[in-house]
């Protein structure tokens, strides 16, 4: 199970003990730059509150010095918050003892670093198995699980090389594999692709999206690149001067930028290449499952005033649709035999550009599926036009 993250009133302050205390007392009344002038302490994050949902790919974007890296480091307590609380999967990080924190870091959270943070004295395998090694996992099991992670990021055959023999992109793959070996529910990525050149960066972004699609994992992703933020994020938080300026889905930034700063920030972003199906899809109003009774399904449709309903199996895998007429006509007990096959399903990580052809032919909401074929939402033609028009 992936976990949700709840951040309440969170601040991060750097400085000597006395300066810090002074700065914390001033947080409510002064801006970070004023506090810095008066006390000498740096306020990196100032009284921030928000929630990250389960399975979400949550992006925090901002220029350097905006506090985004300081923030992400509080999620595994590499930085101790000066005020506020963090709850991950309902558990408060601040209440954890040393041992609990260690267990939490070993089992539930992993981090990928901008400059990779690889152990240069160990091979690729030695790096990837490190998280399991500190937990005391047996060597054989360790090797097996590490090899799986290495294959997942496409580095098989390189496991016995040293990090300094690899290119930047490959090093970051090692970083990602290492973060995946302990199967964390929360994955923290601190500007993971900022040190890579643009072509490799694009490739790595696509790979991560593909990976993310097949895993149940909450990902917090930091970047300073607006295009990257919009390509990757389910939701985005834009940070400036230790505070969040705007938080929402990518299309909301285009629809209602809260101020001039946001407008300027997104000015260069190309919407059709950035907006993905998943960004503007809606949750299906109702879904029927194989094995559901015909009468109940019919009632459901009537109640919600729908003309047809999408059908999934017990794993939420998309099966097809049934119209209300078919339900009325039939006398079957369950709906299983009535399902019409449907090949209009679109992949949720497709950009609007790619989905355009199917979209233009459709006369009804298109089903949206993930990498495993599970129904994740529906896409309405009007919503698309709306999003692009803004």
């Amino acid at each position: 199970m992936a976990q949700d993250v709840k951040v309440e009133n969170l601040s991060v302050v750097f400085g000597k003990t006395r300066q810090r205390q002074e700065a914390i007392d001033m947080l409510d009344d002064y801006s970070p730059s004023e506090i810095r002038k008066k006390t000498g302490a740096t306020v990196a994050v100032k009284k921030v509150s928000f929630e990250i949902e389960e399975n979400e790919l949550f992006v925090i974007v901002g220029l350097s010095g905006s506090g985004k890296s300081s923030f992400i480091r509080t999620l595994n307590l590499l930085n101790r918050p000066a005020t506020g609380d963090i709850k991950i999967g309902g558990r408060s990080l601040m209440d954890m003892s040393k041992e609990e924190l260690r267990d939490f870091r070993r089992n539930d959270v992993a981090m990928v670093f901008q400059h990779f943070g690889l152990l240069s004295h160990r091979t690729v395998m030695g790096n990837v198995e490190y998280p399991l090694e500190v937990q005391g996992v047996e060597k054989e099991e360790r090797r097996k699980r590490s090899m799986d992670a290495i294959e997942l990021v496409g580095l098989d055959g390189w496991e016995n090389h040293m990090p300094n023999q690899l290119s930047g992109g490959m090093r970051q793959r090692v970083g990602l594999a290492r973060a995946l070996t302990n199967d964390p529910e929360l994955l923290l990525m601190d500007e993971p692709y900022s040190a890579l050149d643009p072509l490799i960066r694009r490739e790595m972004q696509n790979e991560l999206l593909k990976l993310e699609d097949t895993m149940d994992r909450t990902i917090v992703f930091i970047t300073h690149d607006m295009n990257e933020a919009f390509r990757m994020g389910d939701r985005i938080a834009l940070m400036k001067d230790a505070e969040i300026v705007q938080l929402g889905k990518p299309e909301e930034f285009f629809a209602n930028p809260v101020n001039q700063y946001v407008k300027d920030f997104i000015a260069d972003v190309d919407k059709t290449r950035i907006l993905k199906v998943r960004n503007i899809m809606n949750k299906p109003t109702a879904v029927a499952k194989l094995g559901d009774s015909r009468q109940e399904t019919l009632d459901k449709l009537k109640k919600k005033d729908m003309e047809f309903i999408y059908v999934v199996d017990s794993n939420r895998k998309f099966q097809g649709f049934i119209t209300i007429e078919e339900l009325k006509k039939s006398k079957a007990q369950t709906i299983d035999k009535l399902v019409n096959k449907d090949d209009t399903a679109i992949y949720r990580n497709d950009y609007l550009q790619d989905a355009w052809e199917k979209l233009s032919k459709a006369t009804y909401d298109l089903p949206v599926v993930d990498g495993k074929g599970r129904l994740r939402g529906v896409l309405d033609y009007d919503v698309v036009v709306d999003a692009l028009a803004k």
């Binding site: 959270v109 500190v134 300094n164 290492r178």
Partner: protein, 296 residues
């Protein structure tokens, strides 16, 4: 008026304080109070030194040259290996083989003691600010105090001439760079690597042994190199308190104004220093994993 002039231009006579006296009585006090322990020390260290010396003499001269050749081949290229082997051979040719082995014994034992004391000290210094604050000025003092000063208390404390006080004086003189570079190596480990270690839930011990020490190995090796070089330098001076070795020959040559003998013995020390330096530097370079191999 005249008195005042005197006061301005010369340091006032009755303003001095005798610091030599208290130090003398302090050393005396240690001498009396810890006599038994110090005597035991002498016995133990004589034993250790004898063992090392016995082993070094047991190995035939040509084995040294062959081992040196292959080690240098592995670390550098064949030309370096040839040069170093010839230098080693020359030590024997000049007639200083046995003396050099005596010298090498003291260097080796001193460096070993330095490792035993220096590594933990450096680690503690990197981990605890208080240890750092206390050790730093002491290290500065140890390095700037004239090396001869160590000889006298070494003699008195151990109540004997020869190798034990020589090892003691050499160890104290050679220790600082190892502590310093161990400290430096650990504090300079890439911050993100340390963060990575912490983020996966390493215990402090796992952090130290699996990340910090391996990452700073090349810096620590450089420290071992410097410590060894300082031990080589001190060993000549230590011969003044009766330790056998090449230093003795230098000392005798100086006392008898024997220019030729002096230089011959001096060369033997220089050759020994070059050989040790190259070997240890080669190891340090080999351990430096952060260096790029080829292009990306």
């Amino acid at each position: 008026m005249f008195k005042l002039m005197n006061f301005i231009f010369e340091f006032p006579e009755n303003f001095t304080f005798d610091i030599a006296g208290p130090i003398d009585s302090f050393v005396d006090w240690i001498d009396r109070t810890f006599r038994v322990i110090l005597d035991a020390f002498v016995v133990v260290f004589t034993g250790i030194i004898n063992a090392v010396q016995g082993f070094l003499f047991f190995v035939p001269w040509w084995v040294y040259i062959i081992l040196l050749f292959f080690a240098a081949m592995k670390l550098y290229k064949i030309s370096t290996a040839v040069v170093l082997s010839i230098l080693m051979l020359l030590i024997g040719v000049f007639g200083f083989w046995d003396q050099t082995i005596f010298t090498l014994t003291i260097i080796l034992v001193s460096v070993l003691i330095c490792l035993v004391i220096g590594l933990p000290s450096g680690i503690l210094m990197a981990k605890f600010r208080r240890v750092e604050m206390i050790l730093k000025p002491i290290l500065d003092g140890m390095q700037t105090l004239p090396s001869f000063v160590y000889l006298i208390p070494a003699l008195m404390l151990f109540n004997t001439f020869g190798r034990v006080p020589a090892v003691f004086a050499t160890t104290i003189y050679a220790l600082p760079p190892l502590i310093r570079l161990t400290y430096l190596g650990i504090t300079n480990v890439d911050e993100q690597v340390v963060e990575a270690g912490a983020s996966f839930g390493s215990t402090p011990m796992q952090m130290l042994f699996k990340i910090e020490l391996p990452q700073s190995l090349s810096t620590i090796a450089a420290g071992v190199n410097q410590t060894t070089m300082m031990a080589v330098a001190m060993v000549v001076i230590a011969s003044m308190i009766g330790a056998r070795g090449v230093g003795n020959d230098v000392l005798r040559a100086v006392q008898q104004l024997n220019v030729g003998d002096g230089f011959a013995a001096g060369f033997a020390i220089v050759f020994l220093a070059i050989i040790l330096d190259r070997l240890l530097q080669g190891v340090a370079t080999k351990l430096d994993m952060t260096a790029q191999e080829g292009d990306e």
